[in-house]
């Protein structure tokens, strides 16, 4: 018997370079469940991929509709960008009663969406991280910064919450300039930001998109040499590419304290997936949650997922790390309770959103070194 899970990500379009790893990572969780062999008496989870395009709501909706009504997926791991996620949610998922767990739609607006209890996300809403980043700057006694954010709901929401928190602590934002992803030239933005000045440049973007381009341009012109970075900027590739220039820069990233992430890094690396990529961890967790919720509900159905996600994600119960899904199955089969920790220390609050813990890191000797957890 087969239970299909939709994996809807923007395989083409502006974040196409992130999505393959995200998809692989989600499928890694599913195959881990399958390999355990204990899932619902021989039901096999089959991922079905579809392209959300990240930007074309109509095409994304059509793709989701196809997955739901043709392929008969029971739950959706996705979508990625907040815009298409909202469209799929209200036009395909809610009407058909199919739950969605998005690994990367971080828009605060989705918290208020009319989701009928079907929408969850493993990425924290941006509202919280703004506060975290502001407090980090406070710790470092930095009072004047320039901000650049990627011009989408993630970046904008993040920048808003950061600005609110930072100004509350008495900090000054000299200029908050958005940048578009998928462009190559950021001279204009850097020119304006440099003129505005500031001790550090706060970069709230993606590490393989405009965020990197902005840092590159800032370094090239000597406009800034220290950067404070949001979660989207956390990646090894960035370190590798920019090398020593990033020395002394710092940032925050949602992080499971210790074990969970390490465990994930290990199994992901074994499977040939870049564990450090943006949202790969969240993707793994999203897929894992779907499987666990089904197991908990005792049947491979949409309703089981919707009803049990919160339950398996949160305490009480035994803590489950990546790579321990098989163990979780056994516990659940025996009627036990689990608290899925996963790669990102999943804790769903409110209507099913990740609460998120954050790691405050600094780049020293070409490595991310943890300063503290928040």
């Amino acid at each position: 018997q087969e239970a299909k899970i939709g994996v809807i990500l923007g395989f083409t379009g502006p974040i196409e370079s992130l999505t393959p790893a995200m998809g692989d990572s989600a499928e890694l969780a599913l195959s881990e469940v399958n390999d355990a062999g204990t899932f619902l008496e021989g039901v096999t989870l089959t991922p079905v991929r579809a392209d959300s395009t990240c930007i074309d709501s109509a095409a994304a909706t059509a793709a989701a509709e196809r997955l739901i009504t043709t392929d008969g997926v029971l739950a959706i791991m996705g979508a990625d960008c907040s815009g298409v996620t909202g469209a799929i949610l209200s036009n395909a998922a809610v009407p058909n009663g199919v739950p969605m767990i998005s690994p990367s739609a971080t828009s605060p607006a989705l918290s208020n969406a009319d989701d009928n209890g079907l929408f969850f996300r493993t990425a924290p809403s941006d509202a919280r991280q703004g506060e975290v980043l502001a407090s980090i700057l406070g710790e470092r006694d930095i009072s004047s910064v320039a901000v650049t954010y990627t011009n989408n709901d993630y970046g904008k929401g993040f920048a808003d919450s950061f600005a609110a928190a930072f100004e509350e602590t008495g900090g000054e934002i000299t200029l908050s300039a958005p940048h578009e992803d998928g462009k190559g030239d950021y001279s204009a933005e850097i020119g304006a930001l440099a003129s505005a000045g500031g001790d550090v440049l706060v970069v709230l973007g993606y590490s393989d998109q405009g965020g990197k381009g902005m840092i590159q341009a800032a370094l090239d012109t000597g406009a800034f040499d220290t950067f404070a970075m949001g979660d989207g900027m956390y990646s090894d590739a960035l370190l590798e590419d920019l090398g020593s220039a990033l020395e002394g820069s710092f940032g925050s990233v949602p992080w499971a304290q210790g074990e969970g992430t390490e465990a994930f890094t290990k199994i992901a690396t074994d499977a040939g997936i870049n564990a450090e990529g943006s949202y790969t961890r969240e993707s793994y967790d999203a897929a894992a949650l779907i499987a666990l919720a089904m197991m908990k509900g005792g049947e491979a159905s949409s309703a089981a997922v919707a009803a049990n996600v919160m339950d398996v994600a949160n305490a009480p119960g035994e803590e489950i790390l990546p790579g321990e899904l098989g163990k979780a199955m056994e516990i659940l089969a025996d009627g036990g309770d689990i608290d899925y920790v996963g790669a990102t220390n999943v804790e769903l609050v409110g209507e099913g959103e990740a609460a998120g813990t954050y790691r405050y890191y600094e780049i020293e000797d070409g490595e991310f070194t943890t300063v503290s957890f928040k």
């Binding site: 196409e16 370079s17 000299t174 190559g184 304006a192 003129s195 505005a196 393989d208």
Partner: protein, 336 residues
């Protein structure tokens, strides 16, 4: 001193980046304009041709790097460009043979070719992603800077730094050389003149004994070379990602149109106009002004005409204004 500081700040953040970006756009626009002039359609696949040329260059660069070849302070990619050009040329020639030629022989109207080129764009796009994937690829090596901001400050004792990347230098030099070569070729060689003749009047070119297929082939070869060079320079200066090349199409077209489609000089001017208006209008003049003005007059705000959100929009407004005042285009193109 203050004046020098102001000048340096302006050069660092406006002049140098705009010149480099302008050269890259100009090289791209030259390719578009050549196809428009000689093959008579707006080639939407040009951005992706650039991507493919660059992709081959990158693969060759990796090969060279693996073999331990290097150009010292210069990027190895410069050595690999010929391979990229060859790859792009092969591809466009094949495309021409199997796609465009049919419509040319049928005397299809240019608009059909435009839509066909969109189809080709989709295909190139798929091919690039298929071969090299959608990710960011870095292939620059060698010295990154001719002079960086810190060195400059130390050298001159000024408060403002001036950075000049080697890729910017290379871009500008290459652009000048390529443009000069192209002009010389079009205006002084037999083949170049035959291309202009063909562009002017196809039937009469035939009557003068010019072989149209040869003209077409040479055009594609030049376009492939221009696209590869432009794409590689762009990739060296920023980084290579297929999607950005697709996005580059819009400013490239804007450059070509504002300069007067079909006019090579216009393409160059257009590239610089777009680049300067993108970078210049949204520049916050605070820094420059605070150096220039006495302290009492120092601006409190940023003195930014428009926020950078509108950089692309602003450049378009400028284009429209330019066209309103120069109704024949900057350099009279093929337009009526």
């Amino acid at each position: 001193m203050d004046f020098l500081n102001a000048l340096v700040a302006l050069s660092n953040f406006v002049l140098i980046p705009a010149i480099a970006y302008g050269s890259q756009l100009a090289l791209g626009a030259l390719g578009v304009t050549l196809i428009y002039g000689i093959l008579r359609f707006s080639n939407f696949a040009h951005g992706d041709t650039m991507a493919i040329g660059t992709m081959v260059t990158i693969l060759a660069t990796w090969g060279l790097q693996a073999m331990g070849v290097s150009l010292g302070p210069l990027p190895t990619a410069l050595l690999a460009i010929p391979a990229g050009i060859a790859g792009a040329a092969l591809l466009v020639l094949l495309t021409d043979r199997f796609v465009y030629r049919f419509y040319r022989e049928q005397k299809a109207k240019p608009v059909i070719l435009v839509i066909v080129s969109m189809g080709v764009m989709f295909i190139y796009n798929g091919v690039t992603r298929f071969i090299i994937g959608p990710d960011d690829q870095r292939f620059a090596d060698g010295e990154r800077f001719i002079i960086n901001a810190r060195q400059f400050k130390e050298m001159t004792g000024l408060d403002e730094g001036l950075a000049l990347k080697s890729t910017q230098g290379i871009t500008l030099i290459t652009a000048v050389i390529v443009v000069a070569l192209l002009f010389w070729f079009l205006n002084h060689t037999r083949t170049g003149k035959s291309m202009r003749a063909y562009s002017d009047n196809e039937d009469l070119a035939l009557l003068s004994g010019i072989n149209p297929e040869r003209v077409v082939m040479v055009t594609w070869l030049i376009v492939a070379a221009l696209a590869t060079v432009a794409g590689t320079l762009y990739g060296l200066d920023k980084s290579f990602k297929p999607f950005t090349y697709f996005q580059l199409l819009l400013p490239i077209f804007a450059s070509a149109i504002v300069g007067g489609l079909g006019s090579p000089l216009g393409a160059i001017a257009g590239g610089f106009i777009i680049a300067f208006s993108e970078v210049g209008i949204t520049y916050a003049w605070k820094k420059v002004l605070s150096y220039m003005l006495p302290e009492s007059l120092e601006p409190s705000g940023l003195v930014q005409l428009m926020s950078t959100d509108y950089k692309f929009a602003v450049s378009f407004v400028i284009l429209i204004i330019v066209l309103l005042f120069r109704p024949t285009g900057l350099f009279k193109g093929k337009s009526v």
